[in-house]
Amino acid sequence: VKVKQILALVNRMQADGVIERYAIGGAVGATFYLEPIATLDVDIFVAFRPEPGRLLVSPLPIIEYLRARGCTLQGEYIIIADWPVQFLPPTGPLAEEALAEARLFDVEGEPAWVFSAEHLAAIALETGRPKDKTRLLQFIESGALDLGRLDAILVRHGLQERWRRFEQQFLEDGP
């Protein structure tokens, strides 16, 4: 499994102290809970180690580490095991919480930190593109969500109004 090769390298990068916590998000993250969701890239959220004296976090240590191990750069992506991989900092409180509360999976002996189903659903709601709404519906239909936990996340991050609109649009039987 190529994604397992990516995990092995990211786990080694974590063990070597280049990154702190990481978690897989996006379609690959959702695949841990749902049926496989076709995608062309892998999103990995990471807590970057702040460099002394710098206010902005830099992905440079990750890039240097991976290039030294044969990976190549392609625009915003780093190619690992043929997959374009994007390393992303958590861009707001919801993604920060998702990273802090990521779940640990075992992929044929390789550890994998993945956003929880409820956080993936909340992020899909927050992002709000058509494909995110489709994914949110998939999560709801699959029964993979702890709705109490999802509700608490939506309240904490001020997403109730957005959820109400989503419910009206997709979950209520209209005339």
Partner: protein, 66 residues
């Protein structure tokens, strides 16, 4: 095989549930395959893309020309 729509939707839902319940390693293997297939389709589309139409007054180009 049936053309009963509710039955079709039910069986699609069941298939998705069966896929979701597979071991994670197997699902990730399927992701690899889906991606390779999507890339192959994209490549064949770009190979089969119609050449741009010559504008009025230009000489039509032959394949491999120029």
């Amino acid at each position: 095989v049936t053309f009963n729509l509710p039955e079709i939707l039910r069986s699609k839902r069941e298939m998705r549930q069966r896929l979701a319940a597979r071991p994670v390693g197997e699902k990730l293997r399927l992701l690899d395959e889906l991606r390779e297939r999507a890339l192959a389709i994209a490549a064949s589309r770009s190979r089969g893309a119609a050449p741009s139409r010559p504008s009025i007054g230009t000489t039509p180009q032959t394949p491999g020309g120029n």
